[in-house]
Structure formats: structure tokens, C-alpha cells
């Protein structure tokens, strides 16, 4: 208790203010009012405890009210699409260029809160810059809600930026620049472009992309595969332009100035000015804002001869950022940045109380360790990753990254004045990036370097941090008892975090139809916890496996599959499976025997060979025993290729666990169904996957008579084929079969212990 009272002032203010914001975010502001009212009353009645709590309570209330005032309130029923919408506005973010599209945030002059800011996507190479005023015509679209647990919630993400709509246009004539950016914006843009050009001229694309990512936080030129590798090795923070960068930049500027024998005052002002310019060039992400505020505070403390408590200035930075953007508290960047800094300014000194030796290599290990320990729950919560290997990779790479950053800055600065000199700095930076990528490659291939983990509950995260605080308290005050409790709490968290997903719902067969848009992907968990994935979705236009499939599998904490099954080699069934095979360990890869030789399978077969999973060819009559009472039977097709279409050679699989059976039908069409029925292969099942996303060509009423299902699942997304066809829906309705659709219900899960069925849908 005494320690809470003795916390630095701004930390206390930050905690109270943040609590108020959290209450308001979950629409519980009234609790803040009641609490403050209660404290005020007891203060007036002069109770003793209210003396301490009055000011915190008032700050808490201020936080709630402040958030409520700044809240983005969107009306509940907005049209999902508005065509030919015209609007004038100002580009307020640096446009981001992907291979096909350009995206930025537009601030408009409209009064309605849901039209004040919008995310714009242009499907042509546009020449827009930050600060430009533009006139644009296009389609207003509401962002998609996620369909699966674990999927990135883009709508919620945009809402935190106070954005409701996306504005999309594909025609160049729909965009007119009304007014160019003002001088300051123009200069900042020029700096940014100059930096890009300098680096891209010298380094090959891949390395230039990584270096630009590190210097400017531009992530679009790093390939998703590389990005994931960095994530797995736990050093992706080098791209989230962080305090590390600001610290290195400040140190660099300070060093250059001391070469010119500058006075302390001019050193401080110049460094602060450089940091402010740099912050504007990278567009003020939260981590940079935090680092710049803390650096300026440190400089001010030095100049005015005040004691600069790092924890105190972290709290002050937090309060300033929350005042500028109350939503920041709920953004990943804020949480990661503050957690990591908390690790450095609180956990590190605590450990230093015990480890007293002053050796450089101890710091080298302890500093990344403290940051990693502090962000661990957030990494697990947002990225479903537990990265013990990150400790080693960070020791090796964070200083290399620092070197590359300093050299990169020097290269850019000299590039502006003496262009011929910049290669001197940029080439070594490129070399350092080579080393970093090599370290990342090796680190991720080590056993236990990383582990996909189930998304932890918030309660467990709180438990973990309470444990950390207790351990730190114990280290500061040398009390064994608190340390023991703290370590126990941390261990409990880690234990539940690393618990394999097969541990949950034991004795239940689980079948989940994952929402992969237009396509199929079905995850099966046997009662004993083996994972089977039937098909993996795939879309030529959007990265559905990166956006939907892999995040879902990762959020379940699945690290190894027993079987990957492909029903037939169409793109919307095969593509995602290839990615899963690349990403995860897998024992068997199953493909239909009748299509074994087709060219579409070439890649996945070689990938299976390289990853050490065995290829199994499936044909009618095979029965795979998965565990006691649970087996999978192949009903169709036979060994030889028959019929014209791949679809009619789709695998038809029959999963059975005691009395519960599911029929998975792939994309089989009328011809195939007729074959299936003629041969008498069809068996009764409680749940059936409607063949071919509910197309009319797969409609065969006798099939449903024979199967006699209670539930039918249609795995479908936005498409131009008219799936699912109304006739199919009518027929299923007429037969009294309950229909669940992945486009409407999101991921659909069936859990059965062999007799009962439980159904869970992600969207109600």
C-alpha cells in the first residue's frame, strides 16, 4: 500500500486516467461517476481513506468524461455500400503503396461523425502526397466484420482511428488534386522521398525494403513471408519505429554536435528539433511520440537541473498521448511500446539490484530480456506467438539493428548534402541487414524458437503482470515470500499459455468450417487431439490465407497437423493448404488418387517432401482410424480418373465418431453425386457440407434423402457465380434441414462427444 502511495506522481495520474478511459471505452462511465460520488461523499463526511482517494477518483472521472467527449459514435444502421460518393478532403497520412493499390486516410469537411475521416483505397498508381487536398469520387464501403476468431478486426481497427467507411475507386479520373501540400508538408514529403530514393538506388530491393521499414516504419515493401519470419523470431519491433530508433538518433545527433563543440543549450535544442522533424517524417506513431516526449523531458530535466525519474516521465508521456488520442490505449502500438519501456525502466533496475556486476555483456543480455518479458503477454494476445528464441535473437540483432539504423540515418543525411558519400554508410547497413536476416533464418529453424499459442485470456494477462510486479517488488525490498508468489503466478500463466490445443475439449470430435470467403476449409480435431485440415481456401485477389486461415489456426495455438487433406486441386481449396504446409509441421498430406498426377499438385508435393510429410493417395473404400471409435472413410472417388471435371473427382469424406457423423463433399457436382449414389457409397450423416458452395450444378435432391442430415453447412463467400443458389436453399428449407453459412455465421463449430452435438457460430 505504501508503495502505491510512493509511486511517481505521473504514473499515478496515468493509471487513474487510463482506468477512467477503460471504463468509458466499455461504456461503464457511470461506474466512474458512482465511484467518484461515493469518494466525494465520504470525503465530505471526512472518512480517512477518502483523503488518499479523492484526487485519483477525480482524475478517473476526468478520464471517463474526456473519453466520452472524444468518442467516435457511428449510427448503428448505415448503408453497407454507397456508389458514386463525392467528397473533398485532405490527405492526412502518408500514402501507402502496395503492389496494386494506394491507401491513405482522408480527412473531410463533412459534419457527420461517420464521414469526417475515411480510409481511401485507390486501385491505380496515384500521385497523391500527404497534405494534398483532393476531390474524390468512389464507392463507400463498410469494412468487413471478421468471420473467424483470431482474425484481425479491421472494422474495430478503423473505429479506433475514428474511421467508419472505406472509400474505394479504381478510375484515375475520379481523383483530382485540388490544392498541393503546404510548404512544411512538402518538405517533409521530400525528405521521405529522398530517403527512399537514396536507399533504393544503393541496395537491392529486398534489403532496401527492410532498411526502409526500420528507418521510416514503411512496412509495405517487406514481403509478408519475411515479416512473419521476423515476427516468429521476436524482433519485428525493429520495424515498429521505436524508442530504439529515437534513442539512437538522439545519440547520433548529440555526438555530431559534440564534434562541433556545441554548448549544452544548443545541443539540447538541436537534438529536440531533429527528433520533432523525424517524428513528422515517420508520421508520429505512438512509439515515436513516446520516445520523443521522454527524450525531451530528459533534456529539460538536464537543463533545469531536475531529477528525471524515467518511470515518472513514462507516465507523463502516457498521459500526453492519451490526451492527444484517448483511443491510443487500445492500440497495439501503444500497449507494446509502453510495456517494453516499462520493462526497461522498472524490471531492469529491479534485476540490477540483484545482479550487481557491471559487465557489458550482462547489460547486453538483460536489456532485451526485460523488454521481452514485459511484452510477452501482448505478443501472445495479438500475434498468438510465444517466442523464447527471441531472447537470443534480440541479443544478437538489436545492436546490429541499431548499427544499421545509425548507418542508415548517416547515409540519408549525407545523401541530402553529398550524394556520393551515402554508399559509404548504406552498404555496411545492408551488410548488417544480411546478418540480421541470417540470424532470423537460423533462429526460427531452431527447436523451441517459437510456438503458436492459444490467445490468452485477459485475466491470465493480468495475473502475469501482477506476478511480474510482485517479483520486482521482492527484488526492490528483498522479500522472499513475494518473489515466490510472483514466480508462481508467472508460471501459471506460462503453463496455460503453452498448453497444447489438443488438451482442450478432450473426448470431443470437433469440426470447424472456417470462414475463408469463397472456398472451403474445414478443421477437424479428433477426440484425442489430432488436427486435420481439409482444404485451405484461396483467393486470387485477396490474401485470404494470410488474412483469415492462418490467423485462425494460429489463434488456436495449433503447431502440428496430423493430416492435411485436399479434396481437389482448385485454387479455392488448395492455395491455403500450401501455405499451411509451409508454415506448420505435418505428418500426412492426402490427395485424391485419381488426380495424383495433375500439375496443380506439383508444388505441394515437393513442399511436402521438403517438410518431411508423407503423401498419401486417397480413394474410395479406404478407412482411416484416427482414434478409438473415430474414423474417417473415403467414399469417393475411385482410384482412376473419371469424368471431365476436377470437381467431380472431389474427395467425399465421411467422419464418424460413435453416433455422430459428418459428410464432407468437396466440390462434387451432379455427375459425381450420381456416381456416388449408384455405387451405394452414401451413408447417413447428421451434418453435411453442401457440395460446391451450394451451386445449382451440384443440386441432387435424392442425395439429401439418402444422407438425411439435420444440418447443412454452406462454405461460401462473396462471389460472382451466384453461390449459394436459391433453389438449393429452397430445397434444404423444404426438407427441414437447418442451414448454416460461413458468409453469414462466420466460423461454424460442431462439437460432439459421439451422441450430443454442440454448435458454435462466430457471428450470431
Amino acid at each position: 500500500m505504501k508503495d502505491i502511495i510512493n509511486l511517481p506522481l505521473w504514473v499515478k495520474i496515468f493509471i487513474a486516467f487510463a482506468l477512467g478511459i477503460i471504463l468509458a471505452y466499455y461504456e461503464l462511465s457511470f461506474l466512474a461517476c458512482i465511484f467518484t460520488g461515493f469518494i466525494l461523499l465520504s470525503y465530505l463526511l471526512s472518512c480517512k481513506f477518502s483523503h488518499y482517494l479523492l484526487i485519483p477518483a477525480l482524475i478517473l472521472l476526468t478520464g471517463s468524461i474526456y473519453f466520452d467527449f472524444n468518442k467516435a459514435i457511428f449510427p448503428p444502421s448505415l448503408p453497407a455500400e454507397v456508389n458514386n460518393f463525392e467528397i473533398k478532403g485532405k490527405v492526412v497520412s502518408y500514402p501507402r503503396y502496395d503492389d496494386r493499390k494506394c491507401s491513405f486516410i482522408l480527412k473531410t469537411e463533412r459534419k457527420e461523425p461517420f464521414l469526417q475521416k475515411m480510409q481511401v483505397f485507390l486501385y491505380f498508381p496515384a500521385r497523391v502526397e500527404r497534405g494534398d487536398e483532393i476531390f474524390i469520387k468512389g464507392k463507400l464501403v463498410l469494412p468487413d466484420e471478421p468471420g473467424n476468431p483470431g482474425e484481425f478486426n479491421y472494422a474495430a481497427f478503423l473505429k479506433k482511428e475514428k474511421i467508419c467507411y472505406m472509400l474505394i475507386t479504381g478510375e484515375e479520373k475520379n481523383l483530382q488534386v485540388v490544392k498541393k501540400a503546404c510548404l512544411i508538408d512538402f518538405l517533409l514529403n521530400k525528405c521521405r522521398q529522398k530517403a527512399e530514393i537514396t536507399i533504393k538506388n544503393i541496395l537491392p530491393d529486398k534489403k532496401a525494403g527492410i532498411l526502409l521499414g526500420m528507418l521510416l516504419g514503411k512496412k509495405e515493401e517487406i514481403s509478408p513471408e519475411d515479416y512473419r519470419e521476423f515476427q516468429k523470431s521476436g524482433i519485428v519491433h525493429i520495424f515498429a519505429v521505436s524508442g530504439l530508433h529515437v534513442g539512437f538518433l538522439a545519440a547520433l545527433v548529440g555526438f555530431i554536435l559534440s564534434l562541433f563543440k556545441a554548448s549544452p543549450w544548443s545541443k539540447i535544442t538541436v537534438t529536440c528539433a531533429v527528433l520533432l522533424v523525424y517524428g513528422s517524417i515517420v508520421g508520429w506513431p505512438v512509439s515515436v511520440m513516446r520516445a520523443v516526449i521522454m527524450t525531451i523531458l530528459a533534456a529539460a530535466a538536464f537543463y533545469f537541473k531536475r531529477e528525471n525519474g524515467l518511470i515518472n516521465s513514462l507516465g507523463l508521456a502516457g498521459v500526453i498521448i492519451l490526451l492527444l488520442d484517448p483511443y491510443a490505449l487500445f492500440k497495439i502500438g501503444f500497449q507494446l511500446s509502453f510495456a517494453a519501456t516499462f520493462g526497461l525502466v522498472y524490471i531492469y533496475p529491479a534485476l540490477r539490484k540483484v545482479i550487481k556486476e557491471k559487465k557489458w555483456w550482462i547489460d547486453l543480455m538483460l536489456i532485451p530480456l526485460c523488454a521481452q518479458v514485459a511484452v510477452l503477454p501482448f505478443i501472445a494476445y495479438y500475434f498468438y506467438l510465444f517466442t523464447p528464441g527471441a531472447l537470443i535473437t534480440n541479443i544478437l540483432t538489436s545492436y546490429l539493428a541499431g548499427g544499421a539504423i545509425i548507418l542508415g540515418f548517416l547515409g540519408i543525411i549525407t545523401g541530402i548534402v553529398f550524394p556520393f558519400l551515402s554508399p559509404v554508410f548504406i552498404y555496411p547497413a545492408g551488410f548488417m541487414i544480411d546478418i540480421i536476416t541470417a540470424v532470423v533464418k537460423i533462429a526460427t529453424s531452431l527447436p523451441f524458437a517459437y510456438l503458436w499459442v492459444k490467445k490468452p485470456d485477459v485475466g491470465f494477462i493480468i495475473l502475469y503482470y501482477a506476478g511480474i510486479l510482485l517479483v520486482c517488488y521482492a527484488l526492490y525490498h528483498k522479500t522472499i515470500k513475494a518473489a515466490g508468489t510472483g514466480i508462481l503466478m508467472i508460471t501459471v500463466f506460462l503453463f496455460f499459455l503453452c498448453l497444447p490445443p489438443s488438451f482442450y475439449d478432450r473426448g470431443y470430435l470437433e469440426i470447424t468450417f472456417i470462414d475463408v470467403g469463397q472456398g472451403d476449409s474445414i478443421l477437424i480435431k479428433t477426440p484425442e487431439g489430432k488436427f486435420i485440415l481439409v482444404d485451405g481456401g484461396g483467393n486470387r485477389w485477396t490474401d485470404v490465407e494470410e488474412r483469415k486461415l492462418l490467423p485462425y489456426l494460429h489463434s488456436r495455438g495449433i503447431n502440428r497437423f496430423y493430416m492435411l487433406v485436399n479434396s481437389h486441386p482448385d485454387y479455392d481449396h488448395l492455395k491455403g493448404l500450401e501455405r499451411v504446409l509451409e508454415e506448420h509441421k505435418n505428418k500426412f498430406l492426402c490427395i485424391p488418387a485419381s488426380l495424383a498426377g495433375v500439375s496443380e499438385y506439383q508444388y505441394i508435393k515437393s513442399a511436402a517432401f521438403n517438410k518431411g510429410s508423407k503423401v498419401v493417395y486417397l480413394y474410395a473404400g479406404q478407412k482411416i482410424k484416427l482414434s478409438k471409435d473415430c474414423f474417417m472413410e473415403v467414399l469417393y472417388p475411385e482410384k482412376e480418373y473419371r469424368g471431365e471435371k476436377y470437381n467431380d473427382n472431389s474427395l467425399v469424406l465421411y467422419m464418424k465418431y460413435r453416433d455422430f457423423a459428418v459428410l464432407l463433399t468437396g466440390d462434387i457436382e451432379q455427375e459425381g453425386i450420381k456416381n456416388l449414389l449408384n455405387k451405394g457409397y452414401v451413408k447417413e450423416a447428421k451434418v453435411v457440407k453442401v457440395p460446391h458452395h451450394g451451386s445449382r450444378g451440384s443440386l441432387y435432391p435424392e442425395f439429401y434423402d439418402k444422407v438425411n442430415p439435420h444440418l447443412a453447412v454452406i462454405s461460401v463467400g462473396k462471389n460472382n457465380f451466384g453461390h449459394p443458389h436459391p433453389e438449393v436453399l429452397d430445397l434444404l428449407g423444404a426438407k427441414g434441414i437447418r442451414v448454416l453459412r460461413t458468409d453469414q455465421n462466420g466460423a461454424i463449430t460442431f462439437l460432439s462427444n459421439g451422441s450430443e452435438i454442440r454448435i458454435k457460430t462466430f457471428k450470431p
Binding site: N6, P8, W10, F304, K305
Partner: protein, 239 residues
């Protein structure tokens, strides 16, 4: 105003003297116990009537003043150079806690106000610090103290009139004889016009043997000052 803002941004959560946790500010930099300790030290000390050094109860003047009359009219200090008073000056000087000067300066001003022999005062002048000291710590603590006293007494403060011309080793490392030799012609008055026929209050941090104060006073009187009185934060023991 600036100090108030800085107190908010960089809150002081420990007593500047005894490190006791709590909420402190520029106007209250130390805890009540430390404040009480300083106050009682000030009240209890028996001093030489002329130079303000701590002497035995039964004496009126210290041996130095009896042997040779000091050039200044009077010298006084807030407390003896020990315990809390000693720590306060060290924290101000060596830890660079500049804002301590606010409270310390006003306490010195109170001492001046209570003693009629200090008056009249026309000008306040701090003992100049060596350039090395300023470069190292970024400020001159005696000037800070003098500024506060000036504000409190509403008298003009001039910290550029008396300057140091000779870089000398710190007085605290030397014996009494060496101190006097060390300081000989170390100071100079830059702008004689400003002090001509003026009554001057000289401000220093510590009065140990009085060598610094004597030398400064001598320099000022030679340059035309009418009369010099000395106020310091702490004073040493005399015989």
C-alpha cells in the same frame, strides 16, 4: 512560475536532505523534520559577533577577529557547516539541485532582515565561481542564492561586476595559510562605476575560514565600495 511548472513535470518525491519519501516542491524541498533541524541549529548556535563563526558560549569575538579586524562590516550565516545544513549546500552545489536555492536564499534573506547591522544595502553581489565549476555543473550556486535574496529584499543583484581572474584550486583542499595565498588577486571588479560608494551585500555558500569573503571584500573596497557585509548559508567553527 517556471519552477512551479517544473515541479509538476518533474515531481520531487523524496526529501532533498534525508530522502524520506513524500510530496515535495520547490517551496518545500525538504521534510518537516529536516526543516526543524535547520531551524533549531540556527537558533542554538552561539556566534562571533563580527564574523558569525560558531564559537564557545563564553566568548564574544573569535580569535581571528580579535587578532585582525576583518574588512567586512558583518558576516552572518543560516547555520553551522554540519548535518542538514552541510547536506543542503552539498545537494545544491554538487548534485545540482538548482531549485533548492529558492528556499535557501529566502532563509538567508530572513537572517539579513533580522540583523539591522546589515543595512543599508544598495547592491547584492555573489562570490564568483570558477569557470570550471560553471562548465561542470552548468550554473553558479552563489549567483542563484544572490538572485533569490535580491528578489526577497527588493535590492538589485549584479553577478557580472565581481569576476574571477585567476583559476584557483578549490579552497576546501587547502590549509588556512594556503587559502589566503591561493586567493591573492584572484578577483577583480569589472565595472567600478557600479559599486562606487555603494553598500554591498556579498553572498557566498560557505564561510569556513573567511579567506574568500575577506579577499572579495578587500577587492570590492579597493575598487571604491563604501561598505561590505557578508551573508552565507553555512559557517565554520572558530576559536
Amino acid at each position: 512560475m517556471l519552477n512551479f511548472l517544473l515541479d509538476i513535470i518533474f515531481p520531487m518525491d523524496r526529501c532533498s536532505l534525508c530522502q524520506k519519501p513524500g510530496r515535495y516542491s520547490t517551496t518545500r524541498p525538504w521534510c518537516d523534520e529536516c526543516a526543524e533541524a535547520i531551524r533549531s541549529m540556527h537558533e542554538k548556535m552561539h556566534i562571533c559577533d563580527r564574523c558569525g563563526k560558531v564559537i564557545d558560549e563564553d566568548k564574544f569575538l573569535c580569535r581571528d577577529c580579535l587578532e585582525k579586524e576583518p574588512p567586512f562590516a558583518i558576516a552572518r550565516a543560516v547555520g553551522p557547516y554540519e548535518d542538514s545544513c552541510r547536506i543542503a549546500i552539498k545537494v545544491l552545489k554538487f548534485l545540482g539541485k538548482k531549485n533548492l536555492a529558492v528556499v535557501m536564499g529566502s532563509m538567508m534573506a530572513e537572517v539579513v532582515e533580522k540583523e539591522p547591522r546589515f543595512f543599508p544595502i544598495d547592491l547584492i553581489i555573489p562570490v564568483p565561481a570558477s569557470r570550471g565549476h560553471i562548465q561542470q555543473r552548468g550554473f553558479n550556486q552563489t549567483a542563484e542564492l544572490a538572485r533569490v535574496i535580491g528578489k526577497k529584499l527588493k535590492i538589485k543583484m549584479e553577478d557580472k561586476v565581481l569576476i574571477r581572474v585567476k583559476e584557483t584550486p578549490p579552497q576546501r583542499e587547502l590549509s588556512k595559510e594556503e587559502r589566503e595565498k591561493n586567493l591573492l588577486f584572484a578577483f577583480k571588479v569589472q565595472d567600478k562605476e557600479k559599486i562606487y560608494r555603494k553598500n554591498i551585500l556579498l553572498v557566498d555558500d560557505v564561510y569556513t575560514t573567511g579567506s574568500t569573503s575577506r579577499e572579495c571584500t578587500r577587492t570590492l573596497l579597493e575598487a571604491g565600495a563604501a561598505r561590505v557585509a557578508v551573508i552565507t548559508w553555512a559557517t565554520g567553527h572558530g576559536f
